[in-house]
Symmetry: C3
Subunit: 337 residues, 3 copies
């Protein structure tokens, strides 16, 4: 994989930043640049954490005595909760920092905020930020004892979301080999799509397709290793996996799109359209779903939908990544004394 | 007890919804329809959890590995805290969801929000909602592994508040038999009063009285099994328990009521009026108290007031209900494998 | 030490309020009036809790089963987090009460709020309040089983901040004897400065200096046992410790101060000015830093700055105080049965 999104997001050098010298995960910022073996390791670890609802015991002592800080510069209650639950189930202490009410808004620089928080002997920052690469910036500048997890940055990346999608695909299709996956919707503004494309290509699917109207398709997307479709009917043909993206309704107002109704008629996923995919195709969505805008209710709730399974897998994947980066740190401490 | 409040809140079918087939508590939504034996079981369990301030050990491992979610669609810091403390002392993990800042406000349906949260492997939803029966709706539609506790819904019910009141009465009066209880104030808008009336009648008191000006008395309230009084002096005569309700000051503006001063002169509980009750009558209030509006300070802080004991009992009752519904679930899991 | 700040903050009687009859710490409201032996005990205890970032184990079971409530009537995310982390690492349960959204704002009196919270079987209130002596008021009126910690009140006191500063000084200078310490900036509005002055004098430094323009110097400050300077160059001469205070930019608008630039030229700490102090002088700041207003970036990040060490010590000092007041209570319970 020599294809990168450097042109889209300048300054990202994820691989060297995320891994220790011997290839262990230290930060989790980006799918791009991570080797297949590491992605597979995350999936294997997460599979162990997938908790059945009927299973009482959800607590593991792996992060006992560790402190996780949720730094959400951009509001997202749902994503914050999934990291909070993951940390709790690993027995970590967790602090939610409402960064919009803190010193950051009193004119303190991001770097000063980070310096202060790391001095409180935290172990992990979970960062959500409206600016692309903010988590990378923090990872580059924070103390060596901190691990940074990207919980979504600008239009750039959302790597835990991509990995929970991969876990869901693997649970249904066993192997990535030979799969054709179509990602549909607002590719242009989607950090989820970017991370999914990197993950799918690294894990070795046969083909990744992106389907969107021209106004929602980023220039140069082909360089990421995808086939571009502007027709839903062509793009869905014989795919194994259909990934729908949430359409931000704000786009409507920006003259990028016609009405919701017209969008749905051209790009909404209906039962009829889904028949173009393979009979055993699964339907995915990162949530929250806009019923009747990008997806029909009957499909979202239908037998091919795995949307709720994605949510469940989200906790497991976050537990996997958290326990891996903390394991790496524990190892470093043993070596460095 | 064949009397129901179906006319007041259509669509409530609490008993079958709240109990398993063999009569164990699964959800706690409503006092209405629950048998006396179950209410007594809650009180007995709660009594075990009543913690003296001097008692160091407040932690029980009964909910270890369980996740409780506080879903407060209506703001109530104090009630939220009592459930949070109850969950912590049972060793549960707890997540507070500020639902007004979450996807629910982005147009996602309540059902989609619930589906997502239950997929995160939660065990219990504590629901506060401005719409009557919202917790019932959630209980009806959520996954079978979730228990729902009603933390107050519209004008309908507030069952844990009613049970902490019952516990307080039992601690002072030993038995419910033969008691005369007067509930005073804004009966019309009070979910607390509705739940209290059901609880008192189920537990077998001799007489429940409601005292309010006509504008604050709901039509048809007699059908719930109460005696109606519009005169405070008549209603308080020889009662064992005086329950005062908080007067929402907003009512003043709605032309439902004269001035605060006039209200107090007619319906405020003073030392003089309290003398009409039995000499050992106790005075209760769900809080927060409007001193000088519905109750005189000297009474609220006086020797017959048990208001602070109600607060302490509130934690114990919530611990009791939480541990009971989780016990029911554990049993079901054993049976169903 | 017969010097008090009674004239500045009337009504404070800290010593008798904070200590049990046999001199153990019960509340931590104020440095004023506490004996040197007790301050030293806090520092010794805190030193045991200072956690190196590479140290995995940060949990101590000392407050297991205890409930700490953060009552922040004035917003301060950073300070709240340090108390939250301290409580978590002592294994306490912690509840954050957003007091501005609670009943307090519905017209309930402070006393009623406190009565309600203490009835929930809490063990400790951490109080931040915009009114001076609010934590003292709470300590005076709350139930005997509660300990109150002052997390900053009005312009009055910020005792845990002062103690973390003392810990940092002791770590670098070993002993307080013979030290000359200069506190610089907005002395007038600084609760931090007041608490520092009491602590430094009690611990027996040689000299405490305060440096500020006349408009930011409180009348009668000499009575607290300090030397007053209006010239930075004179005040910094040969000091061992330079404490910078945060300048609230609001002061600029109030005609108390000229422009930021002019303030910096007269009272900002630059590398050049720092040379007036002893060569091994340390530079402190309670944070958040206004770079280029009260301190130059090169000094804040320079080799003599111990600002980040102060943050780390802040957790340790709060753990020390929390475990001490709870130890006192446990002892009382043993004695009183």
């Amino acid at each position: 994989m020599s294809i990168t999104n450097e042109k889209l997001v300048p300054g990202a050098l994820p691989a060297s930043l995320q891994l220790t010298q011997d290839g262990q995960l230290k930060h989790f910022l980006d799918i791009e640049g991570l080797p297949k073996s590491l992605l597979t390791q995350i999936l294997d670890r997460a599979e162990q954490f997938v908790t059945l609802p009927s299973n009482t015991q959800k607590k593991f002592p792996l992060l006992r005595g560790r402190t996780v800080m949720n730094l959400f510069f951009e509001n997202s209650t749902r994503t914050r909760i999934t990291f909070e639950l993951a940390a709790q189930r690993l027995s970590a202490d967790i602090v939610n920092l409402d960064i919009r009410n803190s010193s950051a808004s009193k004119g303190e620089s991001l770097l000063d905020t980070i310096r202060n928080l790391e001095a409180m002997n935290c172990d992990m920052f979970v960062v959500r930020h409206h600016h692309s690469s903010a988590p990378h910036f923090i990872a580059r500048h924070c103390a060596p004892h901190i691990s940074v997890l990207n919980a979504g940055d600008g239009y750039h990346a959302h790597p835990t979301q991509a990995m929970l999608d991969m876990l869901t695909i693997r649970q249904h299709k066993q192997s990535f080999e030979g799969l054709v996956v179509a990602i549909n919707g607002d590719i242009r503004h989607s950090r989820v799509a970017r991370s999914q494309i990197h993950a799918l290509n690294t894990l070795g699917v046969k083909e990744v397709r992106v389907i969107a109207p021209g106004t929602l398709m980023p220039v140069g997307i082909e360089e990421m290793g995808v086939k571009v479709f502007t027709s839903m009917d062509e793009g869905l043909k014989d795919v194994d996996v259909v990934v729908m993206l949430r359409l931000q309704k704000e786009r409507m107002r920006g003259a990028m799109l016609p009405s919701e109704k017209e969008y749905f008629s051209m790009y909404g996923l209906t039962e009829k359209r889904l028949k173009l995919a393979k009979p055993d195709a699964i339907v995915m969505h990162p949530g929250p779903v806009n019923r009747g805008v990008e997806i029909d209710s009957s499909v979202a709730d239908g037998p091919q939908s795995v949307i709720m399974q994605q949510v469940t897998n989200g906790i497991a994947v976050r537990m996997a990544v958290m326990s891996m980066v903390m394991g790496t740190r524990a190892m470093e401490q043993q070596i460095n004394g």
